[in-house]
């Protein structure tokens, strides 16, 4: 049997030029959607047993354990990040461990495209499509937030001070990519606060 052909949502896009920040697609990311009640102790314990971490209960936070990360999505929903290879295995393990506990675990590794934006001024670029208060200290590394981005739904993950991952449903990947190309153009760079030249 020949090898399986696998293609990420943005595989056909070229490395962008002329931007004020860096933009690329992250392709090796496994994702598992986990539903269960944070108030259900059995559920939380089972998840911890498999993932090695306590699913975060605080809204908009994330927790890591080794190469596994859990992003809070709702009071009864998390997105588990890991390598693609590991996603299958973790999904099976979670399902097995959860057994009859009221829950729903789905491998959704192929459902979203992940766009990595990196560099000085990345928040300003994102603010051209998002109405969140991204300059606020609430948006420290680790923060997770669903948002409306341009005309689509997206999930924002603050990886580091100037590194952001934007998750969009894969059918919108090209749109999101093009939107960032348009708003991150170097001549359109905006600095929101900080010292500026004295206006003449």
């Amino acid at each position: 049997m020949s090898e399986l052909y696998v293609e990420s949502p943005l595989a056909h896009r070229e490395v962008p030029q002329g931007l004020s920040i860096e933009l690329r697609e992250i392709t090796d990311r496994g994702m598992i959607d986990v539903r269960g009640h944070a108030t259900d102790k059995k559920f939380m314990a089972a998840a911890k047993k498999v993932l090695g971490l306590d699913l975060p209960k605080a809204p908009r936070t994330s927790v890591s354990w080794g190469d596994v990360k859990a992003l809070w999505l709702s009071i009864d929903q998390w997105l588990i990040l890991c390598s693609r290879a590991k996603a299958l295995e973790l999904t099976a393990a979670l399902k097995a461990e959860l057994g009859n506990i009221h829950s729903l675990v789905v491998d959704v590794s192929d459902m979203r495209a992940v766009l990595r934006l990196e560099g000085e001024g990345v928040r300003e670029v994102l603010l051209k499509g998002s109405s969140l208060d991204l300059l606020d200290e609430d948006y420290a590394p680790g923060t997770v937030r669903r948002m409306r981005y341009a005309e689509i739904a997206a999930l924002l993950h603050v990886v580091e001070e100037t590194v952001f991952d934007v998750y969009v449903f894969r059918s919108y990947a090209d749109y999101a990519w093009d939107f960032i190309l348009a708003t991150a153009r170097a001549p359109a760079k905006v600095t929101l606060f900080g010292a500026q030249a004295t206006p003449k």
Partner: protein, 117 residues
Amino acid sequence: MLVVHCPVCGAEGDETDFHGGGQAHVRRPATHDPANVSDEAQRDYLFIRHNPKGLHFERWRCDRGCGKWFHAARDTVTMEFKAFYGISELPPREVMEQATGEWATYFKDRLKAEAKS
């Protein structure tokens, strides 16, 4: 553009991050006694709406946040939100007391019914 606050996850954001879902506390008669819903009761459920000029109670969904539905009390003239509360809850007492017209009657009846049970 209103600022809406989700009482479930605490997210705050533009109205476009949320989804307005119309009047709150509408009772679906068929859920309770499907065999005995009059045409008028069905009409009221589907079409008749409180439409106050002033304090109103409505449903919203935290569309771009936790995805949960919740309730809000809002003034339809000033657009000021007076409270955000859970989807299975009644508004805070002091807000209920500010209600007028049909809403005042509604809350009075609800409280009476609750006191009884």
